[in-house]
Every structure is written in C-alpha cells, then in structure tokens.
C-alpha cells in the first residue's frame, strides 16, 4: 500500500496528497537527508563544486559513510560529518538519496 500510494503521488494525479500518505521512515529519511542538501543539493541534485547524491547506489552511500566514519577514506570534512550519524540514520539517508531521480 505504501509503495502504491507513493507511486500514485509521484504520478502527478494526486501529487498534492504525498504529504498525507508518506510513511514515518520516508519522512525521517527525507528530513535527515535535507541536512546534507545544503552542500549536496536539494534532493541530492548538486550544482558543480560538490558531489551529487541523487540516484546514488544505496550500498555505496552506506559504505562511503562508514569509511568516512572510520577514517579509512580520506576527507577534508566528511569524516567529521559522518561521525554525527548512527548507522540507522545513515541507512535512512542512503535509502532516500538512492530513490531520487
């Protein structure tokens, strides 16, 4: 039902209803991901200068964030950001961005 409802909403016919039917996890993912959007673009659609996350593979985002957290992946900043998020929160964010077109 959740899937179908969101399918209807993105179809445009009932786009105005999206807010009414979104499940809690989707809202959580959306809200958490919005914090990243200041740098990575609204819904992950970055303009040049930062990496775009829209449509990025979910497992890739989770893996990279873990590598930032542990320091395995070199970074100027993202290691400090990644440490602010739990694994569950990262999974929600990754799920949200992977679904953006």
């Amino acid at each position: 039902m959740k899937k179908i409802a969101s399918a209807i909403c993105v179809s445009g016919v009932l786009a105005f209803c999206a807010g009414a039917v979104q499940a809690a996890d989707d809202v959580g993912g959306r809200n958490l991901a919005a914090a990243c959007a200041a740098c990575h673009g609204t819904n992950g659609h970055a303009v040049p200068g930062m990496a775009a996350m829209a449509g990025m593979d979910k497992t890739y985002i989770v893996k990279v964030m873990q590598e930032f957290k542990t320091g395995k992946r070199p970074a100027t900043l993202m290691h400090q950001i990644a440490k602010g998020y739990s694994d569950d929160q990262i999974a929600l964010i990754a799920d949200y961005y992977s679904k953006q077109k």
């Binding site: 807010g19 200041a38 740098c39």
Partner: protein
C-alpha cells in the same frame, strides 16, 4: 499494470479522496497559507521547502530587497576577489519553480491575534502560520557616536552584504599606505562568529599586496578569538607577518567619527579606516511582534518546530533566535533551521505528528587569503530531556590546515547552498 495492482491502486485512490485536503486536488485549492517574513538563508529556504513538502500549502514570501545578496563570501569583495554581483541571486525561481508568491515589500507589523501582517506598501496579508526570519539589527544605541545616519555612513559595519560592503572596499582603496585598518568585534553572540577574523585576513591580503606598510588592528570585545582560533592565529602569523595585531578584551565604548577614533575602556585607538561591527539583536520586526524573549535581544523557540515560545502559529528562524549552546548564528545553520521548521509546519498543517528526532549540521568556511580556506563543522541532534539541540559527541571539528582544496569546497558550498534555497 497487473490486475491485482490495479485494484489496490483504485482503492488507494478512493482512500486518498477521503483525506481532507485531497478533495481539493483537481481545483488545486490550498489547505492554508504560510507567510514568510524575510528571504535570507533561513526564510528563502523555508519558503521553498514548505512548498516542496506541502504542495497544497500556499506560501507568500515578503522580502524588502529585490535580490538575495550573500553575507558568506562577502569578505572576498574587500580583498577584491569578488564583486557583489557574484554574491547575488534572484528570487525568481522560488516563484517559477516552486510556486512561492514573492512580494518585494517590508512587513511593518504582525498581529498575532488576528493572524495578519501589515506591509509598508501593499495590503495586509493573513496567515495560518507565520515564519519570521528577520536576521539581525544593530544596537547602535550602545555606541552613542554612531547613533545618527551620517556617522553610520562613515564608520561602516559591512555586516549585511551590499552597499556597505562596497563602501568599505572604497575606504580601503582610499587608505594611504602605512595606514591602520581597525575592526571592532562585539561580545558574542553575533552573526557569523568567524567572519570578523576572516575579514582581518582578507583585508590583510589586499593591503599586503597594495599597501604593505599598513596595519590591521583587531579590537575584540571577547577574551579570545571566538572561532577557529588556532587556524586564524596561524594565518595572521604565517601569511601576514607583522601586519595583523590582535587585542583581546577591547570592547568598544564609543566612537569619535570625526577623528575615526575607537574609544575603549582604557585607551583611544585612531584608525584610517574604522570598521565597527556593533552588538546585535533580532531584526526589528521581532521586537515589535513581541517575539523577543531572551536578554531583550533574541527570540526563544521550540527546537522541534521553531515555533515561538511567546506566540502560537509564529515560527522564528536563523540569526534572530536564542540559539542552543554552541550553535552559531551562521547561514548554514539558518538553512537547517528552515528545513526542520518546514517539515514541522507541513506536518502540523496536515494534522500529522511532528518529526521528533531532527539532526542538523553546521559548516562555516572562512578564507584566509584569496584561495585558501578553513572550516569548522558540527552536528546537532534534538535532546529530548533538555528540549534543545545538542552537539553529537565526537562529531564535527576543524580543518587541519588552510588549503586550496577547501577554498574550492567553500565555493562549492556557496553555490550549492544558494541553489538549495533559491534554485
């Protein structure tokens, strides 16, 4: 489409039709109106995100300037690396892409009981929820010599990007080699904590190239450099040896505009260009509306919704709020307030639960010269017990050193956050 799916889809459609607000779909009628006062980092972001997340909500943004001009990066106008045009973004896409009604006017009064705002030129607007993002006002009453408009044109703040920034650059251009540029910093909290120290760097960058015998004198009311202390101190020493002098505990008491003298408690300091960043409080409209609840300066809010603690249905964002401990008054934080608030406003207007576990970030980039930058970052999450936003332990931090790559990321940050609010 499979038959089974079709049936589900049909029943879902029927179910949705029963939800209030959805009945209005074909006609596009709205479930209510949000008015946003102020189109800076907080207000513009809030206007866009309320429309994006609540397309059945009407949003009107009232902004007194015709275009957005960014304070972050505006110190590069002083060094000569950027012009105001580079920092200017149009409000047009808020209308064309997101359906925000943008009104170029100024809100002169808020009536919380009647839920209306009065405009300087246009007719009054009514709202279901009001988002007030008024930025800061300068407390010139604390500096008697700067109490009149003529004095304020000679001793500039340049702490709101625009004409003052350009005028300060002109003063620097007119300054003789061997002159003194003095910058006065108020006691924290103030807008953009690293900003004054970045300004010292970028003015020094200009002077060391064009007027190398000159001095940059920092008169700081605080006990020490408020932000990125180690990084700035290193930049002054390494990049501008002998040029930048830092004086702590040097609170400005008054100014003699005629002689460009900064009067401190125990001494007078004469300058060739005197740049005074006055103490600040929430933008004027907040005081008029009774939204100021702390120290006669800042607006108290509930951090889950950013609803004012003084008035229902009025939310306050950005530099104007009484910030949680260690949360700076930055453009980035304002952008983050706006999204927490937008999600809450959309939920409340749909009769849904407010998201109870917001996590937000801050990042402030500062340039130490024309190409190299440093950052400070932090992550805050809602603390249910303290009803505040608290730093997540072990997260956030500082640059290890000033680098060109962070200079590029600082540009990337600016382009992306401007697009996130206005594009």
């Amino acid at each position: 489409m499979e038959r089974r799916e079709f049936i589900k889809l049909a029943s879902a459609t029927a179910a949705l039709a029963a939800i209030p607000g959805c009945a209005s779909v074909g006609g596009g009628k709205s479930i209510g109106r949000v008015v946003v006062v102020g189109g800076g980092y907080a207000g513009a972001t809030a206007a866009k995100y309320v429309r994006m997340w609540g397309p059945d909500i009407e949003v009107t943004l009232v902004e007194r300037n015709t275009d957005f001009v960014s304070c972050p990066l505006s110190n590069l106008v002083l060094s000569g690396g950027k012009s105001i045009k580079d920092l200017t973004v149009s409000y047009n896409k808020l209308g064309s892409k997101y359906g925000v009604k943008v009104i170029n006017d100024e809100v002169t009064a808020i009536d919380a009981a009647k839920r209306t705002v009065t405009l300087a030129r246009g007719t009054a607007l009514s709202y279901d929820r009001l988002i007030v993002a008024p930025g800061i006002d300068f407390m010139y009453d604390t500096i008697p010599g700067l109490s009149n408009a003529a004095a304020q044109e000679n001793v500039l703040h340049a702490w709101k990007a625009g004409p003052q920034t350009v005028a300060l650059r002109k003063q620097l251009e007119a300054m003789p080699d061997g002159g003194v540029f003095a910058i006065s910093i108020p006691k924290a909290p103030f807008r953009c904590p690293p900003g004054p120290y970045e300004r010292a760097c970028l003015v020094a960058a200009y002077l060391s190239k064009h007027k190398p015998k000159s001095k940059v004198l920092i008169l700081d009311a605080n006990e020490e450099v408020v932000a990125k202390k180690g990084l700035f101190t290193k930049a002054w020493k390494d990049l501008y040896p002998g040029m930048v002098e830092y004086r702590a505990n040097s609170e400005l008491v008054d100014v003699d505009v005629k002689t460009l003298t900064a009067k401190l408690q125990f001494e007078d300091v004469k300058a060739n260009v005197l740049n005074v960043i006055p103490p600040q409080r929430a933008g004027k409209i907040a005081a008029g509306a009774g939204l100021i609840t702390a120290n006669n300066r800042w607006c108290g809010v509930d951090y889950l919704t950013f609803e004012s603690v003084a008035h229902k249905n009025i939310h306050v964002l950005g530099d104007a709020i009484l910030a949680a401990p260690k949360m700076p008054k930055s453009g980035h934080v304002a952008n983050q307030h706006a999204k927490v608030c937008a999600a809450a406003v959309v939920a409340l207007m749909h009769g849904e639960a407010v998201y109870a576990a917001p996590v937000i970030a801050n990042t402030c980039y500062s340039f130490v010269n024309e190409t190299q930058a440093v950052h400070v970052s932090a992550i805050y999450k809602y603390d249910t017990a303290g009803k505040t936003m608290a730093s997540v332990p072990d997260s956030g931090g500082l640059s290890s050193a000033a680098t060109d790559i962070e200079g590029m990321y600082a540009e990337g940050w600016a382009q992306n956050i401007w697009a996130d609010m206005l594009g």
